[in-house]
Symmetry: C2
Subunit: 706 residues, 2 copies
């Protein structure tokens, strides 16, 4: 009876992410013990009402599917029970359906016998809940009776698969590349899967007590007493194929007990590789770094964009904003970005900063500005704006009396893991710069959401003046560290590189900062890929591609020489001088595995480790949007919508793709030729190369002889 | 290995009630369609940490049970997995256990091999959650890292019964008293269970399509098109005994289809009848009224105290405060009171009044004052005080500029269902009186909770002055209705009877109100048992027991004459003049069944219908506490702890029991003798009778010859 329809499961927007985020963040274990996050975990609304008004030219039969108990109201009249199907008469009608579910977000899917029917559930429906959603600064409650566009996910549209059972991930079998006995004991096996991986271990022909020790390194898997993750099983019957319940991150696995063989189900978020970014060049080491970076991103981009796959397996806003930026140059998976942004924010009331960290709230705001610039997706900004506003209300309510951001007793000030003395007390210049950018993002989004009452832009301008007055010291050519309340005159790269990255410093001041801070060996080095992201981005922005390339090869190349098959949470090249010269590195050595006072505490597959993926696309292929979504959202757009400033930075040649919402921009450069191909759908671009600027149209291939 | 222990399941305080309350309030159906409440439904905290510090003189083996995933930390060290048992070494130790559960409140039970071990879970443990629990008026967040006494329920202590599967209710089989064919058709049966009841219908030897129509009256069960609740089933196989999934309220059931017989499982909250209140007197009608009232209370007192068993089956604060007061004279089930108070309040943030109704917020505050007076349970006041404070913050933030309570656009002003014209706009005198009493309750509870910063008492005094200045009109000897903003000079019983009930009017003014309002036939009559509760309480307080008795016999006796087997939501004696003179009433007649524009909309078993249970205990047996919990909580108490002012009010004799937390006070009175027996454990009482006052000690039987 029912034809194939294009109906989707719909729910209260953001509730699916909050619910799945709780499952996701609670999967972390530490030596077999559950390790839940230490911040607020919100819940979905338990009762939700979906509605639609529509006109039918003839009667139509619909089928109703819900996750939860539901009722069905036609034109204000409740119908009996939970009707599975219904004949809607012709004419103008209104349907209201309430769904209640304690354990998973109430969800609805309606199929019609007529394809394209207005009754098919999608984002043209409306949704509301009985709860008040937020309270504004005047104590006014909003939400109850406010109708919103429902949430839905691409692919989550099969009536027989309830949304709570829908998986975003897929699996495929993988074999170990090497298997060895430990101490010659056939009941103690070590498996090497050849590279960092994540998924479900599979035991073949196993029986009895089985002990499993996972390692991102060989040393970790062999060290039963200190490896970070492990499993103990008791299999009462012989199991032909026993698949472990929880996924784990590892390269090596030590298995003790009666087991014939061990394989795994690699678990991953599928991507359309034909739409993905790519980078290739004349330097094999750089190619290898890009590939390992891309693999690191693929491992950490899952239901949400997580920090590291061994630990924490949580969403962290500071990590995530870098994943988003890398993603715009790799998979352009906007759905994963939206899911993570929604999940990180959670619900009102705001009772702490995102992840409890002041800087992470700022990164959260700014990730929405980035998202809009790369995708042009105004609908998502409008969806999130109310929660941006209450998050900003909370932030502003905790400023110092001078209107400056400072840590309150229950805030965590992160900045970075540093190996040198640095106070994080008082008013940090770094946090003010992030706040200024957040206020600018708020002004952009207020405008997009049609909120004309806000003056975030004015606040940002005033704050930027204060930053210059308080923190800029012309005598040392740098932004100083902090007011505690005395001026702490320490110079670090953090505020200085952000002032370049955000375009807050004039050209002249940028040059001062470059010479006196960024390239000054007396200013302490950054030893996390996390902050090296912004450091090298600032250099790239100033045209120092040769320096950036050297740093990429040295720092990320250094990790590869230490045996990395994915990039790490932290790396200090000076921690180990005995670099291997083997071309096939086996496994990282011990000094690089410690962190948090634990021998294998460091995460060897950490999203923020993958920044070359961003740096090579952004500063070598040189592509970036100038208009939201590369100008594709607005066909009347007359301005130049994007630019490419290819820069070899010492490479002989390079070629690659940068994804946009409408297809890939392809760029090839060598000493003689520059070729740029553009997809249909984006706006006009401009190519800067060798002091020449050339315009390029959508769907064009442009070849310049140099 | 493990001896019987006295461990209980423990959880975050209030979370069990919030979770169960959502299940409870979502069971309402209207003609087979789910009918969820239209206010905020909160969720339990998903991750909770239980902890205890203790000293053992020798090692002890414990067994750990949890509802949810958990981890186990001994002395700061996480242990592997989810240990089911553990040997705790001797000495000083600390245990921290985190439990995570999305679908039901995370709960913990620990048994020890040693009875009386400090490791047995009970209210000596501590509990916290990672979420911020509330935000005070300065924007300061509280909660995370604040350790509370956990919640637990008597009887919920079996390791093998998870708290989410624990039922507070029991069932027993009941047979219909009459069975008849409809239109002589053997496939259309009408069953009469003899009185209003609630439970699960049982079909015997049924098969095929079965249609069930429930009726609180015979007319309702017979009216397939308009009865309020119904069920349709398709039984593919013959079922020897098919028990319906959802409980329903009914006296009559019409069953259509192939069914041999129908019985039911009566579902009820068990009570210790040996500790219950009782009332018996020379007037059989009054005895019948008391019994039907008590039965009405027993039907509506379930997991929570609900309004009516057919509909709404919800918790409503205005209904509940009367249930609590009746309960103190009937079952003294403090657990049911606490459950309902916790459930009604829910969680922060406060985004609406309780049940969205301004007056219902005030009743909620005052129910805590009543609870303390009758039980003396300070611990519960301390548990609830933070949520009282945020509820009062919300209430105060919505007062008029003159500090008076008024309805905001999203508030519902209820007062009562009235059959005469009455505006509910502007500033109602009635609401100010409830607010004043609420502020007095807040002052009491602030003192009990050790909050010395509040000046609720001063606010109450000032408000009471304003009420007198604005609303008291000496010329009509009454409190006037409202400021809209012009003075609305309408006189209703509502503010006037509350000024007597709360002791706000002087003796002289009480007399004025009595003559000019309460006994004035020109002032519109009250036609709900809901407000007749306060009307008759005010008369009882002024010593008009003969009048009260007459009204009880007339009004509640009137319902009995109309066929009531439990008391109703609303009753206007003038709606039907043809009273039956049959001594065995069969079923209410149609004019009394309508409400809300629906032929059977009225609830015929409504908790607020049962007020004679309160009135007879409070104003005829005449017992009330003067010190919290009848003085039993504080053994050093020197003041008189309770009083009895027995008053026959025209009866020849009466005898009865009034429960206290420590046993029953028994009172018997006839023309010649007054006997009072008191239990051990309460404080000293004083008996007022025939202008004589006599002191009575705990555990004493006092007989006075009159």
């Amino acid at each position: 009876m029912i034809k194939t329809s294009k109906s989707a499961w719909i729910w209260f927007p953001g509730d699916r992410e909050i619910w799945l985020g709780n499952l996701f963040n609670n999967r972390r274990t530490e030596r077999g013990a559950m390790f839940p996050p230490f911040w607020k975990q919100d819940s979905h609304w338990q009762t939700v009402e979906f509605s639609k008004q529509f006109t039918l030219s003839k009667p139509e039969t619909i089928r109703i599917f819900a996750e939860g108990a539901y009722n069905f109201m036609l034109d204000g009249k409740l119908q009996f029970g939970e009707p599975k199907s219904f004949i809607i008469p012709e004419g103008l009608h209104k349907i209201n359906i309430k769904v209640h579910n304690l354990s998973a977000p109430p969800s609805l899917l309606i199929e019609s016998e007529r394809e394209g029917s207005p009754l098919e559930t999608n984002d043209t429906w409306l949704v509301t809940c009985e709860d008040k959603i937020w309270i504004d600064e005047n104590g006014q409650a909003h939400g109850s009776g406010i109708y919103l566009q429902p949430g839905c996910w691409p692919g989550c549209n099969q009536p027989e698969v309830l949304p709570s059972k829908f998986s975003l991930l897929e699996t495929e079998p993988r074999q170990a590349v090497r298997r060895s006995l430990i101490d010659g004991n056939a009941r103690q096996l070590l498996f090497d899967f050849g590279q960092e991986t994540m998924g479900y271990l599979v035991l073949h022909n196993a029986q009895g007590s089985i002990h499993i020790y996972y390692g991102e390194s060989e040393a970790e898997a062999l060290d039963k007493d200190h490896c970070e993750t492990l499993d103990h099983l008791d299999l009462y019957m012989r199991e032909k194929q026993y698949v472990l319940k929880d996924s784990k991150a590892f390269r090596f696995v030590r298995v003790e007990g009666e087991v014939e063989n061990v394989s795994m189900l690699y678990e991953y978020l599928p991507h359309d590789t034909s739409r993905s970014g790519r980078f290739e060049c004349s330097d094999p080491l750089v190619n290898k770094i890009w590939k390992v970076g891309a693999y690191t991103m693929d491992l950490t981009t899952r239901e949400f964009m997580m920090d590291g796959i061994k630990r924490d397996r949580w969403t962290w806003s500071g990590d995530a904003i870098q994943s988003y930026l890398m993603n715009y140059y790799l998979r352009f998976d906007s759905e994963a970005v939206k899911r993570t942004i929604r999940q990180l924010r959670g619900k009102d009331p705001v009772t702490s900063h995102i992840n409890t960290i002041l800087d992470y709230t700022f990164y959260w705001f700014n990730s929405l500005g980035d998202y809009y610039r790369f995708t042009g997706d105004v609908a998502f900004i409008r969806e999130m704006y109310p929660r941006m506003k209450t998050q900003m209300d909370y932030t502003l309510s905790r400023l110092s009396s001078e209107g400056l951001a400072m840590g309150q007793p229950d805030d965590w000030i992160f900045v970075d893991w540093v190996d040198f003395p640095m106070h994080k007390r008082g008013i940090l210049c770094f946090e003010q710069i992030l706040l200024a950018k957040s206020l600018e993002t708020m002004q952009l989004c207020a405008t997009l959401a049609g909120d004309k009452k806000r003056n975030y832009g004015k606040m940002a301008t005033e704050l930027r003046k204060k930053i210059d007055q308080i923190f800029w010291d012309a005598s040392v050519h740098a932004y100083l560290h902090a007011l505690e309340p005395e001026l702490n005159r320490q110079v670090t790269k953090f505020p200085n590189m952000f002032s370049i990255f955000y375009g807050y410093a004039s050209d002249e001041r940028c040059q001062e900062i470059l010479q006196h801070v960024m390239l000054n060996p007396e200013v302490p080095a950054i030893n996390t890929p996390y902050m090296r992201f912004y450091e090298l981005a600032a250099l790239g922005q100033m045209g120092l591609q040769e320096k950036v390339l050297h740093e990429i090869k040295d720092y990320w190349g250094g990790m590869l020489l230490e045996g990395a098959t994915s990039f790490w949470e932290k790396y200090n090249p000076n921690e180990n001088d005995n670099r291997s010269d083997s071309q096939i590195p086996s496994s990282p050595r011990a000094p690089h595995l410690e962190m948090y006072g634990r021998p294998y505490g460091k995460s060897l597959c950490h999203a923020w480790g993958a920044s070359p993926v961003f740096l090579l696309g952004r500063y070598f292929l040189g592509v970036r949007p100038l208009q939201p979504g590369y100008g594709g959202a607005d066909s009347r757009q007359k301005d130049i919508a994007w630019e490419a400033r290819p820069c070899l930075g010492g490479l002989e040649w390079m070629r690659g793709d940068v994804p946009t919402p409408y297809g890939k921009i392809h760029i090839e450069v060598d000493a003689y030729t520059l070729t740029v191909s553009t997809p249909q759908g984006i706006g006009r671009g401009i190519i800067y190369y060798n002091n020449v600027q050339t315009e390029v149209k959508p769907g064009q291939t442009l070849t310049l002889q140099l």
